[in-house]
Symmetry: C2
């Protein structure tokens, strides 16, 4: 019976499609693919790009297999202020680390972190970059890939952003989610290319962005293959950075992990410059875009481009802004281009 | 007009499908998916694996997104004897290198290679492993990614295997091509996981195996991002091994590049052992398989497993054979399990 029902379902759907087409009902292309965007140059550039690169027989047609879209994550797909979520994970993992190794409680930088966690959790400026690197290696390596995965999942399920009181995974930008969906519906393979940890982002990329783990390119430490006490294979995360997926490291990692030059790329800071240059350097219709955080009310405002307040987290310099304008990249104004910022707005 | 034709084509195909289904014409599942295989344990194990992991509601069902299949290349998907194709590329690139830098002509190992190329081109045992590494770095690095790509493509189009007098890219095993097609038709994403150079294999993987560059995991040197004299971005291949995709390096690279444990994996030598262990260690129905080259007449015979002649190229030890038998891996006998070896047979 199931089989007959199945065939009947195919028949019905086929006929329904034919009927719709015959009646000239608007097809996908005529429905606004980006309803959370205000009309303007940014929205139009994205729609034009998709239209041009998918128009069969057109001068800028890109074969489906070559349709690669890359997205920075922090500040491009989700909130990165006041501090990157993964840095919060690192800091909030310190108490468990100190519990396991009490001798660390009085040793910097662990002692500093314990102080920070008592008060303003975002006061990470007390930590130097070498401090942060030491903390990252201590909390992100030395365990099996599976043990890390379990820890990260637990934290992601429980941790909340202090301003919105919501899980970090809900703080994704609705307009960018629409772009991901629109590009995928247009045959693009969507990749995250992030300075964040590859293993960390892979824990939620599929649920949050519809991006499977194999399409997450991030900073990565090496692993070493071995066996547990029962002889079962396991991979251990080693304190050795293999891929630093920032700045020039982004195109290098794209070549390593994807092997194709993206057709379209989105970023929001100086760390994305080389990825956007690399994308734009390809033949045909290529599009590079930068999200400018200029909406202090609905999200945050930082630059220092265009006189916005300077920041160390997701720096967008005036130099980068000028380069974008000169080279035909699109600067997306969160304030002007985005009708809604979050799905829960 | 094109649009109407297009709709009509959809209608025709839909009706044709419905007609076929109504007539009870055998569907895909009833057609032999592996006609170049003889009936036997190996063929049956592959069919059972696919049937079990794709049976919705069954105990071993694997969601489509998690269906990952990994294949070693040399000796598993195509001929590796008497010498890996990429080593032939390295050796045959030496004359051009010496032409550009004549001072190398009298320096070992370049001088040895020039001698080899005059006579028996497979007499590479005259070269030590450090020699080969030096030659590989000299011929595979130091140029832009695009320049390497052009060189590799040119060689692949011209070079011929000395025994079959055919391009190396035609020496793929028909039974394995059928497995690739069968797995993809069953929702599996097929990956190459090779000790060979990632950039080299990516040049032909799509045309030869239907595997896109982003699904090729191989040994890889680092690249460095920079600009040419006109300021155009380019990536230069650096003489620094970043990923050594052999032995324990295979599961490590699978984690780095894919981030999922394979459901099924194919290899043919000791260099694949860890990948096959790692695959088999996952939950549910996992399958690990090894191709045994025991067909001196139609291809080559080497082991030393099962008393076959020993070799340094694609070594399959008795220890590996015994482990396979003990752990429920499948050993594929080229002689007994493969009805045809090449499409041109």
């Amino acid at each position: 019976m199931r089989t007959i029902t199945h065939y009947f379902s195919i028949l019905t759907r086929s006929l329904a499609l034919v009927t719709l087409l015959a009646l000239g009902v608007p097809t996908q292309a005529q429905v606004d693919p980006l309803p959370a965007w205000n009309d303007g140059a940014a929205k139009q550039a994205i729609i034009d790009f998709v239209t041009n690169t998918t128009a069969e027989g057109g001068p800028n047609f890109v074969p489906p297999a070559e349709r690669i879209a890359t997205f920075d994550q922090d500040g491009t797909l989700w909130v990165e202020h006041p501090m990157y979520s993964q840095v919060m994970y690192v800091l909030e993992s310190v108490p468990a680390l100190v519990k396991a190794r009490p001798e660390l409680a009085k040793v910097a930088p662990y002692s500093i972190v314990l102080e920070i966690l008592k008060g303003d959790r975002t006061a990470v400026e007390k930590l130097t970059l070498p401090d942060l690197e030491q903390l990252a290696m201590a909390t992100l390596t030395g365990m099996s890939v599976d043990a890390f995965s379990a820890e990260a999942r637990k934290w992601l399920a429980e941790a909340k952003d202090p301003r919105w009181k919501k899980p970090y995974t809900e703080l994704t930008y609705l307009p960018m989610q629409e772009v991901l969906t629109y590009l995928r519906a247009s045959g693009y393979k969507t990749y995250i290319v992030t300075g964040g940890g590859q293993d960390f982002v892979r824990e939620y990329s599929e649920a949050v962005y519809g991006i499977p783990p194999e399409q997450v390119v991030g900073s990565a430490v090496g692993t070493s293959y071995g066996y547990d006490k029962d002889g079962k294979p396991l991979l251990t995360k080693e304190p050795k950075l293999l891929v630093n997926d920032n700045n020039a490291g982004k195109p290098e990692a794209i070549h390593l992990m994807i092997g194709r030059q993206p057709q379209i790329a989105f970023g929001n800071s100086t760390g994305d410059q080389q990825m956007l240059e690399y994308t734009k350097a390809g033949d045909g219709a290529r599009l590079s875009l930068l999200v400018l955080h200029d909406d202090a009310k609905r999200e945050y405002a930082y630059g220092p481009a265009q006189g916005l307040p300077p920041t160390k987290v997701g720096t967008f310099t005036q130099e980068l802004y000028d380069k974008a304008k000169k080279d035909g990249w699109i600067v997306i104004s969160m304030k002007d281009d985005w009708k809604k910022i979050f799905a829960f707005d």
